[in-house]
Amino acid sequence: MTVRIAVVILLALTGSASAHAFLLHARPAAGATLVSPPKDVNLDFSEALEPTFSNVAVVDGSGHPVTAAASAARGTRMSVALQPLKPGAYSVTWHALSVDTHRTQGSFRFTVKPR
């Protein structure tokens, strides 16, 4: 109970507390194997993002970019459209700057493997 009270007091004192933007959901998901190629990558974060300094890149197994446009961040979501993907493994690398200027980054892979 004491801890709960302390948290409430601390958060109440800050008013506009904000934190590191951690990745909550990704579509495609990390490590996913997809039957049909995705048209875009969508990442949802725990905090609102600073659009100018947040971005996501997608490359194929040879390291060539496969994005169809520049990535965009709006609110807590970052997304990027993809070129038509061939079967193979792809790497997603993201950098996020939360609105209070905390930086986070991450990367994962997904695979396109039609039946």
């Binding site: 507390a17 934190a19 990390a30 905090e47 930086r103």
Partner: protein, 294 residues
């Protein structure tokens, strides 16, 4: 997962050491700005038995330790002075079977010497000054102790695809040399660290397991902490192994660990340690949570 830079691990280690020595020679020019526990893709939760290698704005309040017929209530507040350098103050109250009272105040400085975001590596130099006589005579030493130490953190994110499920593992470590300000006590090597498995890293960087957020924020951990006296007659090595669990939220973390003594000289029963920890840099991002000098 981090991208490789075309260097083998030995080369990278050499580069790391060269960086470290250069940093020391230049009177400790710190690395880039730091946040609590983050290096590259990796988030290291704050360890509760051993020191971790981060110079950050954070508050541990309280840390409750029940071991060897004594219960300790401690706090520790760390303030970043400039990015990569922080000073912390810690103290507490010991409620023992035979005696009770306030423990000595400790002042610790931590200077981040090297960071490699790609390799999830961090190396830090620290110095602990336990101020003798600042606590109660009943439980605290009258003499000061001085402990220079080196700390590190290393994520396993660059393991090959065949070992992908091991990438969430990370280790932290510390080794220090404790020098008491009296000839009546032995000098000692203090060494310890942690082996941890980040479910968040598994979920977001390796393979989405569909875990609920609460589970994703858990980190199973085993900490170990030892002290080996170096003077003749200083006694045998003592230490504990502490398996436990840390939950890390956006602003706080809560941790609980068992304390398992490694020998009879350390203790005969299993104890417990628990801590509430606050990420001040996230709670007060534009005031108290920022370095004084940027």
């Amino acid at each position: 997962m981090p991208l490789h830079l075309g260097l083998c691990r030995d080369q990278r280690v050499k580069h790391a050491l060269a960086y470290c020595l250069s940093a020391c020679a230049c009177c400790g020019i710190a690395a880039d700005a730091s946040a609590h526990g983050i290096v590259g893709d990796r988030f290291f939760p704050a360890t509760i038995t051993t020191d971790d290698p981060f110079a950050a704005d954070e508050l541990a309040l309280p840390t409750i330790t029940a071991f060897n017929h004594e219960t300790d209530y401690d706090f520790d507040y760390s303030k970043s002075i400039f990015p990569g350098f922080a000073v912390s103050v810690g103290a507490g109250y010991a409620d023992g079977h035979d005696a009770s009272g306030f423990s000595n105040v400790s002042v610790t400085s931590a200077l981040e010497l090297f960071r490699d975001e790609e390799d999830e590596t961090i190396l830090t130099a620290g110095f602990i000054w336990e101020i003798g006589g600042s606590g109660s005579k009943a439980v605290a030493d009258r003499f000061s102790t001085y402990t220079p130490e080196v700390l590190f953190g290393q994520g396993f994110g660059d393991l090959p695809d065949s070992m992908a499920l091991l990438r969430p593992f990370a280790i932290t470590g510390q080794i220090g040399f404790k020098v008491p300000g009296t000839s009546l006590a032995s000098k000692a090597v203090q060494w310890g660290g942690a082996l941890e498995y980040s479910l968040r890293y598994l979920q977001t960087n390796v393979r989405d397991q569909g875990m609920p957020l609460f589970v994703e924020q858990l980190t199973p951990i085993v900490e170990y902490s030892f002290e080996s006296p170096t003077d003749a007659g200083g006694g045998e090595t003592t230490g504990t192994l502490n398996p436990g669990l840390i939950w890390s939220g956006q602003y706080t973390q809560f941790a609980v660990e068992a304390i398992v003594p490694v020998n009879a000289a350390t203790g005969k029963t299993i104890g417990m340690i628990a801590q509430a920890h606050f990420y001040i840099d996230d709670i007060f991002p534009s005031s108290l949570g920022r370095p004084i000098f940027r």
